[in-house]
Symmetry: C3
């Protein structure tokens, strides 16, 4: 476990210590305002928890300048949540308990492993595949032939890379993630269902993460691609020939159908569905459970299923509880009119 | 295969035999009214199948008192479905074909295995981990370091417990379930996406089940928790720091975003989505595909996306087919008014 | 890599060569109009890409007769997409890098393997199980006891067959697919939640595919069944006792609850949810994200949640943006009436 002097921690993070009465205690970890004990640092990122500053037992708290006077010892920060994240990274323990290349793994003689690669027992690595320096493959990982794994990648247990998959540097595949399974390519013919072979591959950029039990299918031809720094959550499905740009968040249980292109900087919230062969621009945000069946221009926020601009969606939602009222009001108008003219307002 | 005399079966279940003409046949299994053959017991739990009592070939049928006269031999029960379940349990064969600790498994020397533990080939157990008495780990299971598995747990093939995960007694993890993968913790900063380390853990109570390929993420700090007797179906996603109470049903493909609390006795139907940082009370029922974006008080039934009280939801659904009618009626009113006053009902 | 003379390729596919100036070049692969290089064949299936015929570098293009004059060398086809698929199959390389029965697999002595079976390292095959001729089991596959796998099946990495599962011939299980996990069978009782044992099995017909990380649960009693030629995409959930007919497409992230029957030739689009105990007829199409809570007759197209006939759904969608207008128009009518009669159109 890491231990920092408070002053050293502040210096490492580039923060100013305020208060603390001149002592320089040991810091052994990071914790919430509620759970922190003496020796731990906490943080205030969400103003709704400000009242907890008064009762926390944390030795110091990462806070913005306006809250610095509310704690006995403050680490003053312009971005408390980001600095909390950086502090946490200093104390985080990397998972795992194995080093080296296990003789219980199967590494094909034609595979190439870089320096400092870790291969746990029960890993399978096929021929003509390379694994970059410092990468780690946990038990149950399968890497097919002709794959290329960059440096410092982590493939957690039971992650699967089918043949021809490429990962950049610093990628993380969470347990059970499947890259390069055959896309869903079939066509109905008069003589039954015909399978379209899926001969392309999957290619991830640098620092891409793929969540637990997520699936990214190989392309029919060419590549299914995910750009640098895009983060994909658990149980997401990306169909064949999907392309996703850089720095996107694809939240849990999203499904994107084949050949759709998603631009840079997009956020797809949980359980979103996107139909195939669409073009989603840059910096698009899709609200939770929304369903997209049309192209979307850049810098748009959409909601609902089928998705409409968020403002339209919110307006429709606001009206929905008033539908019964609408029917009642119309009935009254009709009755009054009937009385006035002595006949129903019918054809 | 188990065999019971009918009288012994009735006694074991606490049921009364009615009919049967004094013979005491061997019972070798439980089956549906349609499929049962002589020697098997069937049951009537759903009144819509009552007519099948006349034709079933079952030797005896578990029925409520009012149906006891409709079969040649009845096992009279106050709760036929529950007693069917108990009867079935008497005949059920436990899955599996292996006992002992396989020498093809990897068990870290610092792991502790209780009495009667079964470890199949290709299991990996990390250091500082304990497995309680009578637990079974199927092939491909990964258990990281610092885990604690209670007694009589079953971890089916390829289930994954990342470091620090805790299971109570009698838990069942179905194939491919992933506990303790890193939560989806990132924040956009001016210099790009920053990863927030996920240093907490996952903790399940007693008799919790987690479905095939479901995912429960580790907490950022502290614990993601699931209470005793809660049952989680296949392909469910629980985000980091989610807490679920006791005796909940979380049905297939539900997603719950980070830091949301779900109380005791709740039922989340299939494909429900719940946003993050919410508080769902006790005994809440969420209808299928509903989407929750607000706190929900206890003892509430909700439906729709976004979810509203079920009665409101049902009322809105009932009105939806009448929208075209609404537009037509309004047009007629407008025309009649125009005729009356000689001008359109405009501004 | 396969190489065909163009004339031989045309003959194999039963297509006519038009143009090409009498030369008979070698063809080494199939590619898109954009990506094809000389030596490759491309295709035009979607008319919106017709303009690309002018610029493609493909040596020949599979086109329908009306486009045959727009390329230097045409392979004239009545069904370009199907013939593209057949051409692609000629060049597709089968995945995998291992043959024979690995001594690092665990094959129970009471299991029976047919001719030409491939068993990778880290496969587990239980007793009383048979694997048909020419089938391949990739690493991490688990096959429980009393299973029956037909001929020429492919079980990709980490696919799981729990006890008693049956596959026909030519089935493909994609990575992480789970067949035969226990269904979600529980009932609330006054003394807590009671588990209903799941003692049935899963039975697939011939040429069924099951997507990556999909789950098909075993039946309570009897069988969960999927008919010949049905294709199931990634992350799909089929509950206990579901039966699906022949030649269905079940697209990614669909969930079907227990005991529902789906007929032949159905298409369930992405993220569809179907409640339990329903009867869906033949040739039913369910639109993306639709939610089904009622029986559906054959030859029906449905959309929305809850699902309604597609025409109704489309009409409702078209009206939705006009709701604000509806409220405004009604208000005007009310005001005008009030002016007319000197009182509000109230009760």
């Amino acid at each position: 476990m890491a231990v920092y002097k408070l002053s050293a921690l502040a210096a490492t993070l580039g923060l100013t210590v305020r208060g603390g009465q001149g002592v320089d205690p040991d810091i052994t970890g990071i914790n919430t305002l509620d759970d922190a004990v003496p020796g731990e640092v906490s943080f205030l990122a969400n103003p709704k928890y400000t009242h907890k500053l008064a009762t926390t037992r944390a030795t110091a708290v990462i806070v913005s300048p306006e809250h610095a006077d509310q704690v006995a010892c403050a680490l003053v920060s312009a971005s408390p949540y980001q600095d909390f994240g950086r502090a946490l990274a200093l104390f985080a323990v990397r998972q795992g308990s194995f080093t080296g290349i296990s003789d219980r793994a199967f590494v094909h003689p034609d595979a190439q492993l870089g320096q400092g690669v870790t291969v746990y027992p029960f890993v399978y690595i096929g021929p003509a595949t390379s694994v970059g320096d410092g990468s780690t493959l946990f038990p149950g990982v399968y890497v097919g032939e002709h794959c290329k794994i960059g440096a410092r990648c982590t493939l957690y247990p039971n992650a699967v890379l089918m043949a021809g998959t490429t990962l950049g540097d610093g990628c993380i595949l969470h347990p059970g993630a499947v890259l390069g399974a055959e896309g869903f390519g079939f066509t109905r013919t008069p003589s039954g269902i015909q399978k379209i072979p899926q001969t392309g591959s999957v290619c991830l950029g640098d620092r891409v993460e793929v969540g637990a039990n997520a699936a990214i299918d190989r392309a029919v031809l060419a590549k299914t691609e995910v750009g640098d720094d895009t983060k994909i959550d658990n149980l997401v499905q990306l169909g064949h020939n999907v392309t996703v740009g850089r720095e996107c968040f694809i939240v849990s249980q999203v499904g994107v159908a084949g050949s759709t292109h998603i631009g840079n900087g997009c956020t797809l919230a949980g359980q979103v569905g996107v139909a195939g062969h669409l073009h989603i621009g840059d910096n698009v945000t899709l609200g939770p459970q929304s369903g997209v069946a049309q192209d979307i221009p850049s810098n748009t926020v959409m909601g609902g299923s089928p998705a409409v601009p968020q403002s339209t969606y919110m307006r429709t939602l606001a009206l929905m509880p008033r539908f019964p009222e609408l029917f009642k009001r119309l009935s009254k108008v009709e009755k009054l009119l009937e009385k006035l003219v002595g006949t129903k307002p019918a054809d």
